[in-house]
């Protein structure tokens, strides 16, 4: 069966509106992916490490530190230990504290501790292990920072999802208004078709298919407009992926585009690729709902 059985959709600026929404959604998703990656890296960096300060003026400090180090190496769950001697700590603090008195042969003005940075798995009682050998040691678990960072990360991810949801809501509203205006403008034709015996689904189906098609077109246009921005971001990101890598050359072929975009997370690329189809689905559902509700006013 071909030929019309229902009025079409007077599209107006629907594809352009959807294109803009797709662009915004793409940017929000890119931001969301970045925030998620950042939150995860904060989490993994902070959650499994502890800093142990050992006072150098304690009795037999050197030999007890060596023993503690050996014990930590043998403790199940401890994955790495790093020793910062007072000299190393002093050199690290030099920019803030000024040059030490070593060159002058004078004793240091500050009594700096030996610092142990311990990376460990969850569930081990590091405090018990350390204090059994070195009760004077001060332990600072980075876990509490991890919790704060996790909270911050979750809040940022939540904000990003809220932005994506708002964009989707505005897109639905735009499609809804366009469809409603179109149906109202063609009220007479809709009434004629209804009177001749068209079912509500027959009338809404064609309008919804057209809305889906235009939304798909708008989505593809939006992705096209987003591509240069994504390329720019990908070129900025490339050095962070591999510190030895040079920024990719300007992409002037499809293969070069593909290589440049491969720097971006696959999950982001998949989400971006699905945007036009999501826009089409939203367009279809919105148009169906709006037309079916509108038709309820007819006898």
């Amino acid at each position: 069966m071909s030929g019309p059985i229902s009025p079409g959709l007077r599209s107006g600026s629907l594809p352009v509106l959807v294109a803009l929404m797709t662009m915004l959604a793409g940017l929000a998703l890119a931001g969301l992916t970045g925030i998620q990656a950042l939150a995860e890296s904060w989490n993994t960096a902070a959650q499994s490490s502890a800093t142990i300060e050992i006072p150098t003026d304690a009795d037999h400090a050197q030999s007890r530190t060596d023993h503690l180090l050996k014990t930590l190496h043998e403790t199940p769950g401890v994955t790495d230990t790093k020793l910062l001697t007072p000299e190393k700590v002093r050199s690290l603090l030099a920019p803030w504290l000024g040059e030490t008195d070593d060159k002058a042969g004078k004793p240091p003005a500050l009594s700096l501790p030996t610092v142990l940075i311990v990376r460990h798995e969850h569930g081990i009682d590091l405090e018990a292990v350390v204090h059994a050998l070195f009760p004077e040691a001060i332990i600072e678990e980075d876990m509490r920072w991890s919790i704060r960072l996790q909270r911050l990360g979750r809040s940022l991810v939540g904000c990003a999802w809220l932005a994506v949801s708002l964009i989707a809501a505005v897109a639905v509203l735009s499609v809804g208004i366009t469809v409603r205006r179109s149906v109202s403008a063609q009220r007479r034709a809709v009434e004629i078709i209804h009177a001749i015996g068209a079912t509500d689904r027959q009338i809404s189906g064609k309008i919804a298919r057209r809305a889906a098609g235009l939304s798909l077109l708008g989505g593809i246009m939006g992705l096209g407009a987003l591509a240069p921005i994504l390329m720019f971001l990908a070129r900025l990101l490339a050095p962070f992926q591999d510190q030895n890598a040079q920024p990719p050359p300007p992409a002037d072929t499809l293969a070069a585009w593909s290589a440049t975009l491969s720097v971006l997370p696959h999950s982001l690329l998949e989400m971006l690729a699905s945007l036009p189809f999501l826009a089409a689905l939203l367009g279809w559902l919105t148009a169906q709902s709006v037309v079916l509700v509108w038709l309820r006013r007819l006898p």
Binding site: M1, S2, A189, I193, A195, I196, G197, D200, P299
Partner: protein, 222 residues
């Protein structure tokens, strides 16, 4: 058949019924003239029978389906069995004549070949086949009326309603249309025609439904 039992009609938002106290039967395969002065309620009566408005009181049954409090879906099926020639033709200007006339067949899911054949056949019979690809906006009043008649006839309706179907037709075309109505009646279609054309009524004497001020003035059933 059509059965009205004390039917009244009061459009939403209006304070006074347009039709009231209508009680009558029209048997399947019956022909009725719908007569009455302007403003008597003829168009409203046809609107009621084309399911354009629900009765506000009484009981109405069309082709065996009770319209009063009927579900929307069942009314859709009923609408497909009713052909209507409106006074203002009600054609869709954005579509071609062919698409306007083919609509009832398309809504039923008819095949493309069947649609093509049936549509051209009825357009040729009404002498408007040459206009098939034109927009109704490009046609004269008489041509538009014939297109509206073609659309009403193409689905072979069980009930055919016509509101002044000959007012833009030449005399010979009006006689031809009347002959078609009579043929449809012989095939079992119920036909109700609202008209002011006294010549036509004289040529085809038949029972009439007379309306005056929204109610039955005199009904004379065969």
């Amino acid at each position: 058949m059509i059965r009205l039992d004390n039917v009244s009609m009061q459009p939403r938002g209006t304070g006074k019924p347009i039709l009231y106290g209508l009680t009558l039967d029209v048997p399947q395969g019956g022909f009725r003239w719908l007569l009455g002065p302007s403003g008597a309620g003829k168009s409203s009566f046809l609107k009621l029978l084309t399911l354009g408005e629900q009765p506000s009181g009484g009981k109405l049954s069309i082709l065996g389906t009770s319209v009063t409090n009927a579900r929307r879906n069942s009314l859709t099926q009923l609408r497909r069995r009713i052909g209507f020639v409106p006074q203002d033709y009600r054609l869709i200007g954005e579509w071609s004549v062919f698409d306007n006339v083919a609509l009832p067949l398309r809504l039923r899911g008819a095949k493309k070949d069947e649609i093509e054949q049936e549509t051209f056949s009825v357009l040729e019979w009404l002498d408007v086949a040459r206009l098939a690809r034109h927009s109704p906006r490009e046609l004269s009043g008489g041509e538009q009326q014939r297109v509206a008649i073609a659309r009403a006839l193409i689905g072979r309706p069980s009930l055919l309603l016509a509101d002044e179907p000959t007012n833009a037709l030449e005399e010979s075309q009006a006689r031809r249309l009347l002959f078609t109505f009579q043929q449809l009646v012989e095939m079992g279609t119920t036909v109700i025609v609202a008209t002011h054309n006294e010549m036509l009524v004289r040529e085809a004497p038949a029972p009439s439904i007379n309306l005056r001020n929204g109610t039955l003035d005199r009904s004379d059933f065969a």
